[in-house]
Every structure is written in C-alpha cells, then in structure tokens.
Amino acid sequence: MSEPRLDVAMQRPGAHVVGEIDGNPVVESAAPTENHAPRTPALELRHVTKIFTLPNGKQTTAVRDVTLVVEDVAERGEVVSVLGPSGCGKSTILNCVAGLAPHHPPTTGEVLVRGEHVGGPSASRGMVFQAYTSFPHLTVLDNVAFGLRVRGMERDERHAKALDWIGRVGLKGHEHKYPHQLSGGQQQRVAIARTLACRPQMILMDEPFGALDPATRREMQELLLSIYRDPAIEVTILLVTHSVVEAVYLSTKIVLMKPNPGEIVKLWDLAPPSHSFEETRTQPTFVKLVAEIESRLRGRDVDA
C-alpha cells in the first residue's frame, strides 16, 4: 500500500520524468494514452457568490464570483491551501464544497466535484475542523469506523479497516481509548483517519492544526504530506490555514483571498514538496514566496 510513489508512477504507461531537482526525478504522469481528453477537474467552483441575509434583514456578501479549478493529477493528490484574513470567506468556500448549510447552496454559481454538482454533504467529501470533533461516546476504533458503520459495513470488516487506518496515522495502541484520553494532536489524527476510512475524493480542512502546538503541528503536516503522496489514496485536500509557511510548504496550489466581499486575489501553482521541511524552508524560492504572500496579507500590494 505504501510503496514509494515514484516507482508506481514510472511503471504506468504515460508516466514520464519531466525534470530533476538535486538528483531526484520529478515525475508528471500524463493521462492514460488511450484517453487524450483532459481529466475531469477534481474541483471546480464556477462564479460562486454567497449572500447571507442577516436576522435584521441586512445582506452581507460572504464571497463574490469565486472561480477556481483544481486539476486532477494522476497518481497523487493535491493540496490546495486557502489563505486570507478572517472573514474573507474561506470557511464559506469550504462549506459550499462540503455541502453544509447554511453556506451551501451558494446564492449563485456552481460547485462541481469530479464533474458532479454538490447537492449536500457526502462521505466522498470529508471534513476536518479546527475544533475537535471526535465523538466523545465512541472509542478511537469506533470513531474511525463511524463512516463505515453508517454505510452498513459489518462489524468485523469495519473494525479491521479502521485498525488499518489507525495504524497509518500513527495511533496504534490507542484504538480502545476514548477521545477525552487523547491529546489535541491525537484527536486530529483520529479525525483524519476517520475521514480517510471513507475513501473520500476530497478532504476539506478548516484550520485543522490551528489549536495545536508547533511541534505537533509539524508532525501533522508530515502526515498530510504522506497522505497526498500516497498513490493508493489519491485525495484532493482543500486546506484553510493561517500559516503561510505551512501553505507554501504543503501546497500544490495556493489561493489568496481578500475580504469585503470575499474574492480570490491571486493563485500560485507549486511543485509538490520533494524535500524535508528543514531543507525546503531555507530555499530562496520558498523564502521569497512566503515573504510575498505575507506582505500581501499585511495589506501591501494586494491590488498589484
């Protein structure tokens, strides 16, 4: 299951090495040769606008005319980070993709995941929130197996699958504990394993590591990397974060937004991270991009 992705990619017809960085081959796998049509995008937002009517009758535009396409890359997932000051509509976008009211449905515009309209919440689009959401009355095992249980999987089968995921997120030995016996980082691991167990096409994460200490946060970032590098998982992660460094390190795409009304200011497409965090964060291109985004976030050059 966890073979290195390069090996798998190169065995596939159509996969080819497009470059080399510091001796490491960089692989872009093309669509299968028999299918030259572009793959359906993993996610498409078409002119999404959301207007909330407040109890006093006033209206606020949470997001206006947001258009975003996330391509589906074979053999690995994508991490799309959404950055922006509070109130710029990051959660609104995420909830629209998740299909959660009251943000969903958008006032105008369309949300498509793998070409299909989002009609409501579904196990194919898992959500991980900043607030801990492990069900307190269930053990880690039953929490992770929750999505399998509601779809009617037998007890033994779902427990075996859940145990597998618990091991993959590094929680082996904790499966019979209850959430209140876990640390914050462990609880977020439960949330991630629980979402992954449903084999979603997308994982929507709303400031998932915001409540964690820096060291735990780093561990969780590596966990995310291992997930989206895994060709057997192939999931698109939509990540809302306040950490520019985290976004630049993890992402293959960065979306910068501004508030009042929430709109996309700029997009960056990045190569997937190939080096450790310690090496990457000192690279000039990395430092430069972080500085640029941070200065934009501070309000300078936002219209440039």
Binding site: G120, A123, G126, F129, F135, F146, V150, Y178, C198, L204
Partner: protein, 307 residues
C-alpha cells in the same frame, strides 16, 4: 468588621472550625498543609478538602441537634421552651423508631411510595423521551408541543391534584401515577429538547460528511451526545418526584410515606413525622448519589458529570 484586622467573619469561622478539626483529627500541632486547607476553604472560590467539608457539614448538623435539644429540654412540658406537642425532644424521637417500623409498617409504606415514583418515572421517560427528542430535532414539532409543555411547566403542581382525582375517578394508584406524570412531563420534555438542541453543529456536520443520513444522525450522534444531559434531567425528575408523591399521599392514600406523615399528624406519634421526613430525604439523597455514580461510570467524558 468588629475586629482590628477587619476580616473578622473569616477568621472567626476558621478558628471555630480549626478547633473542631483538630479535635476530630490527630492531636499533633496543626501541619502547614492543614492550615492552608482551612484558609483555602474560606477564601473566595477556594476549595475544601473532603475532611474539611465533612467537618463543616457535621458542625452544622451538630448545631441543629444542640439547638433542638435546647428548646425541648426538660421532663415537664411546662419547663420546655417548646411544648412536646409542637416539637418532641431528640430522645423521644429516637424512642419512636421501633413503633414506626413495626406498628406503622414503615418498610411497606416506603415500598409503596417507591413503586409509585418508579411507575410515574417510567411513564415520564417513555413518553417524554421520544417527544423531547422529536421536539429538539424538528422545529415544527417543537412549536407544536410548546403550548402544553409551557402549560405544564407553569401550572401550580398542587392545583393538578384535585384534577387528577377527578380524571382518575378516585385516589387509586392510577391517580398517583397520573399526578407524578403531569407534574414532571413538561419539565422533562423541555429538558430533553434543550439537550438535543444543544448538541454542537460541528459533530452533526462531521457525521454528515461521513455519510450519515438523518436517522443515523439522530440515533448515532445527536441522541448519544445529548444523553448525559438527559440523564441529569432524569435525576432531577426522580428527585422532585419524592416531593410530589408525598404531597399526593398526604391528600389521600392508604400506604406511603406521605400517608404516614398525614396520619401521624392526626392520630399517631408526632415523632413519626420527623422520622419519616428524614427517611424521605435520606432515600432521595441516596438515590441521587447512586445515579450520579452511574452517570460518572456511563459518561466518563462528560465534564463535571455526576455532581
């Protein structure tokens, strides 16, 4: 206020308690830990050690018994501050324990009262639970149920008694259960609906993005998450049921703790009233503590559960 330090009340109570604790505990000179425990018990929002808390409670009980003995002191009725008709002495009360158990069949009456409480409780839970869950989950059901729930919550309980006698055509067991039911159902439905409504969106949203449908959301997420609060509400219902059943039995019954009180007032030993009151409160207390322990065991994750 009347002391040079200006913190007289605190210092005074602490000194009295210190005397008490030192006599009750070891005679060794007060260790620093004890002094600070005492200080902590009488600082704003401080905490009391279990020993200190027990000592304070015993002090209170002791004071009451002393006062009681004082106002009923003396062989002759004339020499007492309160006549024996109004208040028997502690010794006289103790002497009546055997007759309460044998002649007045205390156990039988206790079991009758408990049986009525249990039946009333079963009715309240079996009808109130589904109604409360539906009211908490669906705004339409909530709006529909609001008038009767409001009515029952604010109707004076004593006024329901004659009505239940009318409706149940007499003062049999049905009337007792009906009364207990009417007295508690409004509160219980309201509490259950609030508990269901208080389940945070993040759990419901998470479960929805894991593929749970509406029924699964209610059964597997919302209800279990609301259950600790619901059980706390059940505890309250049981507690107040003790008060209500005695009220119903005082009005009319053949057995029961309330009946014992009422008949002792008319023709039995007055001491029995006080003893039965003690029995009722002790029973209610023990049941409440038992349920609190059950809560702690069932819901270890619930903060402050079972207090």
């Amino acid at each position: 206020m009347n002391s040079p330090e200006g913190n007289a009340p605190r210092g005074f109570v602490a000194k009295i308690l210190a005397l008490f604790v030192e006599r009750a505990g070891d005679p060794a000179p007060a260790a620093p830990a004890r002094t600070s425990a005492l200080r902590s018990a009488f600082t704003l929002r401080g905490e009391a050690t279990p020993l200190l808390a027990a000592a304070a409670a015993l002090t209170c009980v002791g004071t009451i018994i002393l006062l009681w003995a004082f106002v009923t002191w003396g062989k002759e009725a004339e020499s007492r501050i309160l006549s024996p008709v109004k208040l028997p002495s502690p010794a006289e009360t103790l002497e009546q324990i055997p007759s309460l158990i044998t002649e007045r069949e205390l156990l039988k009456s206790t079991l009758w009262s408990l049986r009525r409480i249990a039946l009333g409780f079963l009715c309240v839970v079996s009808i109130g639970l589904p109604l409360g869950v539906l009211a908490g989950a669906f705004a339409g059901v909530r709006a529909f149920l609001t008038p009767p729930v409001l009515f029952l919550r604010y109707a004076p309980v004593a006024a329901l008694l004659p009505l239940t006698i009318l409706w149940a055509r007499g003062v049999g067991e049905g009337q007792k259960v009906l009364f207990l039911f009417l007295a508690s159902i409004g509160f219980f439905v309201h509490d259950v609906a609030s508990a269901i409504g208080a389940v945070e969106d993040r759990f419901v949203n998470t479960a929805a993005t894991l593929g749970a449908n509406s029924r699964q959301l209610v059964v597997q997420v919302i209800f279990p998450l609301a259950l600790p609060s619901i059980v706390t509400s059940m505890r309250t219902v049981l507690g107040v049921s003790f008060g209500y059943i005695v009220l119903a039995e005082v009005i009319a019954a053949e057995y029961g703790l309330g009946y014992l009180i009422q008949s002792s007032e008319r023709r039995g030993a007055k001491e029995h009233i006080y003893l039965v009151l003690l029995v009722i409160t002790s029973l209610a207390f023990c049941i409440d503590r038992g349920l609190a322990a059950l809560e702690r065991w069932l819901f270890p994750y619930k903060q402050g559960s079972g207090r």
